[in-house]
């Protein structure tokens, strides 16, 4: 009845033997998991024996249960502590590593789902000025994490090019002076890119990411130019050109460009074509992301939105297509959301994905800086403020880091997003692999803690994890997933031989 499973009627539970576990009826088999990320897939008869205390020492199932911490009398504390420490390393609160700087709200596109509160290109009053830019970098270097990633966002960051350059060079100088590790990345729609800017970005090792929603018919439906006109061609052109530059000059050690898509109603019928576009460009992955009804997307949700069930169908069908491409040898393209979830499920590691942490990464892992120096828990939190509600503002770049870290909103978000305090999450078998976004729930359900039984966020994530576990039961798909995991490199992983302050050079794939 609820989205959590009920126990089959023919089970008489005998619980004295059982360690901490949550279970889920997966339709024909059962999944059990525990806080420490261990899991087992059980046939119904075995699940019944586990829950009724009928598994005896000496049986293979007994050994499997014991090794994974499911039996109280065989709890290996050292092993569980080691697993938990690795899985939740982000909880040590080393401070945020991702710093999203909105250098301007100006944009030359009018994307339907934009949650960046963009304005037209004449609004230079929404550009970050030099003094604020300097204070922002100073604030960033006051946060304690040894690794800093600065991500330029907008609007369209290229519209405030001087500040992009200044922040990059100033941050690189400070990183060198302080021995910090620095990554700089730029998110751009590519429609204002030119050779001069690209040369500068390459010279300064700024990695570039763009938005590509798939074939032109989908991309143009979602992301028209302001004042009319196509935006897709520029994206394709510059993706190909940057790849060519990287491949022709490998000695420069520059990054291949990345691209992200956003799923709207226009995307749902074009899953395989979206994948084909990414594959034809030689991209090593495609990220099938659901759209959050925040910002402009909330206003036009009836036009561009979809139900969780519709998204999950799109996701599973498209994932099947991607897996088929891999098994047939036609492509090795990966799906990003899968690799994120599989990193948690199979590798037992944190993939650095802020939305899938407990507590969530807001302030603890990432921070958003508005053009005027105001600091927000995330870019979505910044959008909520633009709509007139400043609840997610946690300070200004003039303030000391400690005041932002200890801000009541920071604490409230940490509490709301700790899944052990959520009445539905605490008993869900997907808890160790999932996450909770208080900003999403504040926007959708008027509550930072949300109402999980009716939460579309929960329905989608639960559905995605169901899909992952079901796919893991197929040996061919499992082999593809394993290959992805060995190829996937966390963006935040760094080599040991790295001179402080110099840009980190990832291996061009």
């Amino acid at each position: 009845m609820s989205r959590l499973s009920t126990l089959p009627r023919d089970i008489e539970p005998k619980l004295s033997q059982l360690g901490a576990l949550n279970f889920r009826d997966m339709g024909g088999w059962f999944l059990i998991s525990n806080d420490w990320g261990h899991w087992l897939m059980l046939e119904p008869a075995d699940f019944k024996r586990v829950m009724s205390g009928a598994v005896k020492e000496g049986e293979p199932l007994y050994t499997e249960l014991a090794q994974r911490g499911f039996l109280r009398e065989r709890t290996d504390f050292d092993a569980l502590v080691k697993t938990e420490a690795r899985r939740t390393q982000f909880r040590r609160f080393t401070g945020p590593s991702l710093h999203m700087i909105v250098v301007t709200l100006r944009c030359n596109l009018a994307c339907h789902y934009c949650h960046s509160s963009v304005v037209d290109p004449t609004r230079t009053d929404t550009d970050m000025d030099l003094e604020t830019a300097k204070r922002t970098v100073d604030f960033i270097f006051d946060t304690p994490n040894e690794t800093i990633c600065i991500e330029f966002q907008g609007g369209e960051p290229l519209l405030n090019w001087p500040v992009v350059k200044f922040v990059t060079e100033y941050a690189q100088a400070k990183a060198k002076g302080t021995g910090r590790r620095l990554i700089v990345t730029l998110v751009s729609n590519f429609n204002l890119m030119d050779e001069e800017k690209l040369d500068w970005l390459i010279d300064h090792h700024v990695s570039i990411c763009t938005s590509l929603d798939g074939p032109a018919v989908v991309h143009e439906a979602n992301r028209p130019r302001l004042g009319g006109g196509a935006s897709h061609a520029a994206v394709i052109k510059w993706l190909r050109y940057i790849q060519k530059r990287v491949q022709e000059q490998p000695e420069r050690g520059y990054y291949l460009p990345g691209a992200l898509m956003t799923t709207t109603r226009a995307s749902l019928a074009h899953g395989p074509e979206i994948v084909d576009v990414y594959d034809s460009l030689g991209m090593d992955q495609v990220f099938l992301r659901p759209l959050s009804p925040i910002g402009y997307a909330k206003r036009v949700w009836h036009d561009i939105g979809y139900s969780p069930a519709e998204f999950l169908k799109f996701y599973e069908d498209t994932l099947d297509y991607i897996v088929d491409l891999n098994t047939s040898g036609k492509s090795t393209i990966m799906e990003r959301f899968s690799t994120v979830l599989l990193t948690k499920i199979v590798k037992g590691e944190d993939p650095g994905f802020m939305d899938l942490r407990s507590p969530a990464g807001a302030v603890l892992g990432c921070i958003a800086y508005n053009y005027d120096g105001n600091i927000f828990v995330s870019d979505e939190g910044r959008m909520v403020a633009h709509q007139g509600d400043p609840v997610f503002k946690v300070g200004h770049v003039r303030d000391p880091w400690e005041s932002v870290a200890s801000h009541p909103t920071t604490r409230a978000l940490a509490l709301a997003s700790t899944m052990d305090s959520q009445p539905q999450c605490m008993h869900c078998a997907h808890k160790p692999f999932c996450g909770f976004d208080p900003v999403f729930h504040y926007e959708m359900q008027d509550s930072m803690t949300g109402r999980l039984p009716s939460s579309p966020w929960c329905e989608i994530r639960m559905g995605l994890l169901d899909i992952m576990f079901k796919k893991l039961r197929d040996p061919k798909t499992r082999a593809v997933f394993d290959a992805w995991l060995t190829r996937d490199e966390c963006r935040w992983a760094e080599s040991d031989a790295h001179e402080p302050g110099t840009p980190i050079q990832e291996t061009a794939a």
Binding site: M1, L18, D120, T124, W161, L226
Partner: protein
């Protein structure tokens, strides 16, 4: 013998379980949950889980009996639908009881592991932050030069004229809709 014992237990449970009250006219179902049998956390947990499809109101006495009234959101339910809902809610209650019992049994283990994991030595030891954050004179003069360069670039950039917008596309939603 074991089968007979099981039957006796089931009978005893059935005896103590109160029959849910159906109000077909109002389209509601009220279940009085014995808190000695289920516990308050399990009762509240089960009630919370069904709030996606039902309006749920609570009453009664937190120490003895929690009265849970369910009203399907889909509209006025028939008696048959309410009976089905009663069986479903009973299953949620029984499962919640098991979940909470597992949680209580293992709380000390979970807390112990969580505490030790929080203070465990990280796998990769990050170097300590240097105390000195000042730039060298050379770096500072380079930054000053950069600032001057950027200031003049910004001044030049702001000279650019606006893109024509005959259809008013760039007018904000607020400008168009809020008076």
């Amino acid at each position: 013998m074991a089968k007979a014992k099981k039957k006796a237990v089931k009978k005893a449970v059935k005896k103590t379980a109160k029959k849910p009250k159906l109000d077909a006219k109002a389209g509601t179902l009220t279940v009085d949950v014995d808190l000695k049998t289920y516990g308050l956390e399990a009762a509240l947990g089960a009630a919370y889980l069904v709030t996606d499809l039902n309006f749920v109101s609570l009453g009664g006495d937190r120490k003895k009996t929690l009265s849970v009234t369910l009203e399907p959101k889909s509209g006025k339910a028939t008696a048959a639908a309410l009976n089905k809902l009663a069986a479903q809610f009973q299953a949620e209650l029984d499962t919640a009881k098991v979940r909470w019992e597992i949680s209580r049994n293992n709380l000390p283990v979970r807390e112990h592991v969580a505490k030790l994991a929080a203070v465990a030595k990280p796998e990769a030891q990050a170097p300590a932050r240097p105390n000195e954050t000042k730039l060298t004179d050379e770096q500072q003069s380079e930054i000053d030069r950069l600032i001057a360069e950027v200031e003049s670039e910004i001044a030049e950039m702001n000279q650019t004229k606006a893109v024509p917008d005959p259809k008013g596309i760039r007018d904000s939603w607020e400008k168009k809709n809020l008076k």
